[in-house]
């Protein structure tokens, strides 16, 4: 097993998720927090959070599928 490659690849995903979380917080602070109603802030915050989750899942699952298909091609 290429340990360094495995650790570096997954660590990059972790660091990317962390950076996106910080960016998400800044967006919440700059945009959502400007809304007057607390209920509206919560709905907008939750919607943005769900959007972030969906985008993150789509991006990483495509990356995993791409690598899996490369391995399928190599083995055939």
């Amino acid at each position: 097993m290429d340990l360094a490659r495995a650790i570096a690849s997954v660590s990059c995903l972790i660091v990317a998720a962390w950076l996106m979380l910080l960016a998400f917080l800044v967006i919440i602070d700059r945009l959502v927090m400007e809304l007057e109603s607390s209920l509206l802030r919560s709905i907008a915050g939750l919607a943005l959070f769900l959007l972030w989750i969906v985008l993150w899942y789509q991006a990483t699952s495509r990356l995993v599928e791409k690598r899996a298909s490369e391995l399928r091609r190599e083995s055939s």
Binding site: A6, I14, V15, S38, A68, S75
Partner: protein, 335 residues
Amino acid sequence: MLRYLLVLIAGLSTSLATTPIVAKIAYKIGAVRPDVHKPGEPEIPTMGGIAITLGLAASSAASYILFAEYKHQIAILLATALVLAVIGAIDDIFVLRGIVKMALTVVAIAPILVAGYLYPAETGLWIRYRPPAPVVGRLRLTILYWLLLPLAIAGPANAVNMIDAFNGVMVSAALISLAALFSSSLVLGNELCLVLSTILIGPLLGFLPFNLYPSRVFAGDTGGLVVGGVLGAIAVLSKMEFVTMVALMPEILNAFYIVSSVKGLVEHRELKEKPTLMLSDYRLRASTNPRAPITLTRMLLLFGGEGGEGELITAILAVQAVSALLALVTSMLMI
């Protein structure tokens, strides 16, 4: 310093002394699981989490006396651990379905909610509570916080439990996360988090020698749920939600990928497609089936190639260490 050391020793010595006894009882009642990554698949006693819980009770009792100013939080932490230990023990003996286990672990938020209602000043759990966050200061998502709170225990409990696929991984990873929480508490001057983290560090250190590769005892669902749930309780009680979330990112991402890719909460025994394949020499290979669930182990194998259990343990703990460093940076961004 001496007080922390005494709390640590109370937890460590209790779990060190009780783990062999718990292992013997587990053998007798048939609470054993095959170690599928070893030749011959030896039967290993599970429910080692009971010893962790006993250690946690001892360190909680010690800290209740030594840190009386935090007695409410310490009592809540222990109550949460006991609820999860009961759920975990039932799961270890009867094997619950994933969705049932998740639903039961949501109940473990009850001690926090009840204590928050009865002692809002002592616990700091106000209705208008604003969680501290990096970069932006305090969030004003007060409604969202209370909507997500029921998952504060169930989420980490199940996520930490799901990463316990190899010998010693869950306990070692939790210790790395606790090291991050401990150092972040020093950065932020959060004494409560130091105390609550020390309560969990001792029992884990006492249990680790029995659980390290090659394991003589498994923590089982009891251990996974208790350790994860207590980490969640530490986060809520000491207002370290963001730091804990970052420290537990490998566990959270692993659980999130599994739940998303299989589109539901299922036990690993219920999975139709396995994420990894076992080779004849007991090394693992990532499944290339598009329908196989995405897990942390599968990703490591996809990017690093076939590997043995030892290599995978090293890789997972290295990723956990990266996450711990990010948690420390997160706490620095909260000053």
